[in-house]
């Protein structure tokens, strides 16, 4: 009986092909969108996990780092509250806090002789504590990170050294670099220069470096940052907790907020991850909805072809019934024709969706590269690796087949209900 359905499809190759194309497009869209968003989610989660340690909290003034995640509130950044470098002493007294360290960040130009590495982030940190908290990320690939650094000591991220990612190094261990900061505290702005010597190049981290070390960061001792930037104000304080239990995180978060009269925002790596994953499920749902519409259109296409096919083959159905085929079998024949189309469409759709996702990923990567040229972008660029999970594959298959079966149900039912005498008389 299956071969009967196949022969009917083969007879109308063009029409069946176009109908299949409808399913292919729908399924391909779903697969491509889902595998890209899932890949993106996996990439971002992984990068955050390398950039963050799960047992850390990030304390910043409201409207600062935390504000980006919707905790800013009404008084964002306007209260005049300042987080100071030595506020770490307050935080260190809170229960379950192991240690804490301040970070000062400024965007500066970096040059070595005539070579210019454009804008990058200069980060003032306590090297010993930073290496302790981010023990897997703040690790030297070449040179050595001094735990008691000299004034001019500089540690650079992997891609500050290997700036063009081709082995031509912008700077290497032992090189002298100039950090040029535009001081706009008093007008007119003045350029100030801090001369540093590269003590170590970090191994590649691959993360964004939100809070934690980054491939594009330049690290100087916190004391030098205070002196150079002329401030005792810090951007963030990284807090290392005794463990990453939810209770510990929640209690410490609350205690820190209380200690600063609710003037700071406290973000935990875990919270950021869960917010991100929420955002991603919404995006995924939205994109899947769009793809579902194209599948709906494909379904209507299937219904159309099956109704036309029903009309054309009314007489044939009459013959089959005269030869003793039961109504149920006629229904099954029509349904299986449609399901075959759906199955072929789904399989091709999954394959082409996967190809499409990879093409999109490559285009994104290429687009990122186009901005580099001679100037190296200072922020982290990310590569999307599309992810095709078995769940998505099975879901796409079920959807493709399901849609074709559901939309063929009505034409198939009508075919099965035809009276043999009338069907045979049909011209």
């Amino acid at each position: 009986m299956l071969s009967y359905s196949f022969s009917a499809i083969r007879l109308r190759k063009m029409r069946a092909g176009l109908t299949t194309l409808g399913v292919v497009i729908g399924i391909a869209a779903i697969v491509a969108l889902l595998s890209i968003t899932q890949g993106l989610q996996a990439t971002i989660t992984r990068q955050l996990q390398t950039g963050f340690a799960t047992d850390t909290l990030i304390v910043s003034t409201r409207g600062g780092f935390g504000g980006a995640f919707g905790q800013g509130g009404a008084n964002a950044g306007n209260s005049g509250f300042k987080l100071l470098v030595n506020d770490t002493q307050i935080i260190n007294n809170i229960a379950n806090v192991e240690t804490s360290m301040a970070i000062i960040q400024r965007t500066c130009n970096l040059t070595r002789g005539e070579e210019v590495y454009n804008l990058t982030t200069i980060v003032g940190v306590d090297f010993a504590q930073y290496a302790n908290i981010y023990s897997s990320a703040f690790v030297a690939e070449s040179g050595e990170i001094p735990l008691e650094p000299e004034n001019q000591t500089v540690v650079v991220g992997k891609f500050v050294s290997d700036a063009w990612k081709n082995g031509t190094l912008f700077c290497n261990v032992g090189d002298t670099v100039d950090i040029i900061w535009t001081n706009a505290t008093n007008l007119p702005p003045q350029y100030e220069t801090h001369v540093g010597q590269v003590a170590a190049v970090l191994k590649e981290i691959g993360g964004f470096g939100v809070g934690g070390p980054s491939d594009y960061g330049v690290y100087i001792p916190i004391s030098q940052a205070e002196r150079f930037f002329g401030t005792d104000e810090c951007d963030t304080i990284i807090v290392k907790l005794a463990n990453d239990d939810k209770a510990t995180i929640d209690n410490a978060t609350q205690a820190i907020r209380d200690a600063f009269s609710d003037q700071v925002s406290v973000t935990s790596a875990t919270a950021v991850l869960s917010i991100l994953s929420n955002v991603f499920s919404v995006i995924q749902l939205f994109l899947a909805g769009i793809a579902a519409i194209s599948l709906l259109v494909a379904g209507i296409g299937i219904m159309n072809i099956m109704i036309v096919s029903l009309m054309e083959r009314t007489r044939e159905i009459g013959i089959l019934k005269a030869l003793g085929m039961k109504s149920g079998t006629v229904l099954w024949v029509f349904l299986s024709e449609s399901v075959i189309i759906g199955l072929i469409g789904a399989v091709i759709g999954i394959a082409s969706g996967w190809v499409l996702a990879n093409v999109v990923a490559i285009v994104f990567r290429g687009g990122g590269g186009a901005f580099t040229g001679n100037q190296v972008a200072a922020t982290g660029r990310m590569t999307i690796t599309p992810l095709l999970t078995p769940t998505v594959t099975i879901l796409a298959l079920v959807f493709g087949v399901g849609v074709s079966a559901v939309f063929a149900l009505y034409p198939a039912w009508r075919a099965s209900r035809l009276k043999p005498v009338e069907a045979l008389r049909y011209e």
């Binding site: 009967y4 089959l320 019934k321 030869l323 003793g324």
Partner: protein
């Protein structure tokens, strides 16, 4: 026009012979709705067909021949009266039981009604596929019946590659495939040239004589009617004459 007196062939033949009836119509009536107007296609037909019979049904168009054939073929149900096939009243059967019954009835249509995308052999196999025979049985049986109708050499041709006469022989082979209780033919020579029609007539006659296949056919073809064992004349929904040749 005076309505000719009806002949109760069923009763008369029952007295004549003791052979079991394959088909028996008792006061068979069928009324169609043609739009709003009821049309009485059959107005009380009595007919008995015995095993081995070769029956030709003649009559002008609109006399109810095709309606009677559809009822004998279990394609339709009567409005009134009984249509007995091997003593089973088809009015009492549901759709699936009717389908099962039709598997043992061989239909031959005026316009052949072959599936165009199938070869001759596949067309013959189709009826056996529906009856649930295995692939091996189907293949062997299809080749046998195609040889019987003289198409052993052309069984892998599609209908479009066959002449009208050859197509009708494929249709006859298909009808024979499931060892039917009887063959029902609706103008089997109505759509083919006279030379091919002569061959079909000889084939049908041979099937009846040599293979003892019971044949009930509707025809306009006087030559064909002349070859039958028995001629039934219909007029205006009634049987008006039933003659044994």
């Amino acid at each position: 026009m005076a309505v000719p007196e009806q002949v109760d062939t069923g009763e008369r033949r029952r007295q004549m012979t003791s052979v079991t009836a394959i088909v028996e119509a008792v006061n068979l009536k069928k009324t169609y709705m043609l739009g709003e107007v009821p049309v009485e296609a059959l107005r009380g037909v009595n007919l008995r067909v015995d095993n081995g019979d070769f029956l030709a049904i003649l009559g002008p168009s609109g006399s109810g021949k095709s309606t009677l054939l559809n009822l004998i073929g279990a394609l339709d149900k009567p409005t009134e009266g009984k249509m007995l096939i091997e003593d089973i009243d088809i009015s009492t059967l549901n759709d699936n039981q009717l389908a099962d019954l039709r598997r043992r009835i061989g239909f031959v249509f005026q316009f052949f009604n072959l599936i165009p995308r199938f070869t001759a052999r596949e067309n013959v196999e189709l009826s056996m596929t529906i009856a649930g025979l295995s692939r091996g049985e189907r293949r062997k049986r299809a080749e046998d019946v195609l040889k019987t109708v003289g198409l052993g050499e052309r069984m892998n041709h599609r209908p479009a590659e066959l002449s009208g006469g050859e197509q009708q022989r494929v249709a006859i082979a298909r009808a024979l495939a499931n060892n039917p209780k009887f063959l029902l033919m609706d103008e089997p020579t109505g759509n083919i040239d006279s030379k091919a029609a002569g061959e079909i007539i000889r084939l049908i006659k041979r099937l009846n004589e040599e293979k003892a296949v019971t044949i009930i056919m509707v025809t306009h073809d006087q030559r064909l009617a002349g070859q039958s064992k028995r001629v039934v004349q219909m007029f205006d929904g009634l049987i008006v004459q039933d003659v044994v040749n």
